[in-house]
Symmetry: C2
């Protein structure tokens, strides 16, 4: 029922705040919209029960039954050891063995990265995998795309100059191949514009990126430049990236509260906030990746997509479509080629 | 005209985007509102010219004439060497010699820190001085104060666990003495809530803070918690703090743009944004520190306040008042005592 010409994506039915319901509905929607085949790991009875109530194309779904699943509260390291037969581990295993071309999960991020590291090979030459996150910026006329990509946003606390240069390459390829941006601009997130800023690792990264022909490097950007969309790809270590992306995520909640505070002082503002409440909810949805389909974890030989924990069916379906496009467009192969070329040209010592 | 019972603050008349006009107007306002005495460094003719058009109390201002001043575009290191007689260096010198109890400048941040390090002694036992910034949060009913304090936001890229613990102590003292918050809550900015998160330095800092009776430590907070006001004092290294504070600063601009984008799609949103534009400008003013009076650079024996580059007269006047209060409340002395107590009790190795 599933053959070698197909695009096959493994999906963890049991991970995420709205699992399994929204995950399975997202899979169902994908089979109606596209010809992508799904290997769906999770409790077979639950899956069939939800599918029976949802419009779907049965031929495109193969269920792999698992009794166990990993929750958000569990310690990543322990859950990986204790639950080798969980829906998340089985899905990464299928992907690692080549039975699927990519994988999507909305589950426990730490466990997901460890499961991927365990079961899916890194691209030859890549030092570290990196989580790349899209985030909304000021509207960019030139691309008709208000999103930029930031990486790493959580996989690695400490990064060398070589690691950061590799993130720049991977981000650039993803941005041009998947987001369709021609010669994307790349910037380094730093505490000042000048090339010497941020300490030794940052200034070394700056000088390597400046010398690389394959990267359209626009220099350092600062915190207040992030949301202006000056760069299509923003490079940083996972510690800083995690905090920045979560700060941006927290803004919409804060706005609603500050709006209430302001409303008490001014009737015009009160009406303004009321009129905007739908817009703010929509902004929140955007920062929750619902429309965009999740964050790729780049550097593996297969495409690994982390859907947001709060993903609904639409977000899951979009994540699966992005995974399929990433496979069809040979993104992982392109990354391998660029990384190996860069190794030959640049002396990182 | 100025005697030993007075509170005396040195002010750099020539630093800042709106200098000297708004700086001198801020000084003039302060002398009308309070009995604080000002040592004002800068071009005497320009100062007298602006003062002649502004309501002020002549007896509270002593002008120290300087021909030179440092601009924002200059390299901090070079400007400090080249311009020893600049308004900023003379002001820090006066403060270091004990002729003023504190100092305020809205000029070049990097040069200001170097000038302060050169001319004003660090508190005995303090490893590193730290820039503390106020930022707006969701309204906190308990304190009737929507602001929290974050430090360091730019003085040190790399910090040890001992440095971060000292920042926690200094921030706690400033928050309780100057902001009047009883037993302020202190948190560590990290990439997760769990005590082991963020690498070795962060987890070591966590365990020391947890063991300290003098600190009301509430644990790690993440990026999305920053603006919720969970903590009165947020501790981080200067690299991360700089990027986070600037990201928050950049939000109001971005909102206006995203609002325009949203308005095109929805008439109700368009009216909402129009009604709110005054509020967003006010939010921007708040994040620009105009109301709050600037960022203290903690760890010096004298209070050093960095007013925002965009400061208007009100912001400068508030910064001078905060400097005077910090002196009168013995904040630097309190920091010295707490730091020496902590040295005795904690083994940092």
């Amino acid at each position: 029922m599933i053959n070698s010409q197909d695009t096959i994506i493994a999906v963890d039915a049991m991970g995420g705040d709205n699992a399994p319901n929204e995950i399975i509905k997202g899979v169902a929607k994908t089979t109606v919209d596209t010809n992508i085949k799904i290997l769906l790991t999770g409790n077979e009875k639950t899956i069939n029960n939800i599918l029976s109530k949802t419009n779907h194309n049965k031929d495109q779904i193969q269920i792999i039954h698992t009794d166990e699943f990993i929750t958000n509260d569990e310690s990543p390291r322990q859950s990986i050891k204790k639950k080798p037969k969980s829906s998340m581990l089985i899905a990464t295993e299928l992907c690692g063995k080549g039975e699927a071309h990519g994988i999507v999960s909305a589950g426990n991020t730490g466990a997901y990265i460890l499961a991927a590291v365990k079961n899916i090979d890194r691209i030859h030459g890549v030092n570290k995998t990196a989580i790349a996150s899209v985030y909304p910026t000021r509207n960019k006329q030139k691309h008709n795309d208000i999103f930029s990509l930031m990486l790493d946003v959580g996989a690695n606390n400490v990064c060398s100059a070589e690691d950061l240069v590799q993130f720049a390459l991977m981000g650039k390829i993803y941005s041009s191949d998947i987001k369709g941006i021609n010669n994307p601009t790349v910037a380094l997130l730093n505490n000042g514009r000048e090339s010497h800023k941020g300490g030794e690792i940052m200034s070394k990264t700056y000088s390597i990126l400046e010398a690389l022909d394959s990267i359209n490097f626009i220099g350092n950007i600062e915190g207040n430049d992030i949301m202006q969309g000056l760069a299509d790809v923003v490079v940083t270590n996972g510690f800083v990236g995690n905090i920045v992306v979560k700060t941006i995520e927290g803004i919409s909640d804060t706005l609603l509260q500050l709006g209430k505070y302001a409303s008490k002082k001014n009737l015009l503002w009160m009406f303004g906030m009321m009129a905007l409440s739908g817009g703010i909810k929509q902004l929140k949805a955007v920062t929750d990746y619902a429309e965009y389909g999740g964050a790729p974890i780049l550097g593996f030989k297969k495409i690994v997509i982390k859907a947001h924990g709060k993903s609904n069916a639409l977000a899951i379906s979009n994540a699966i479509k992005v995974a399929a496009k990433t496979y069809r467009d040979n993104v992982c192969k392109n990354i391998e080629e660029q990384i190996s070329k860069t190794k030959l040209n640049i002396n990182f010592n």
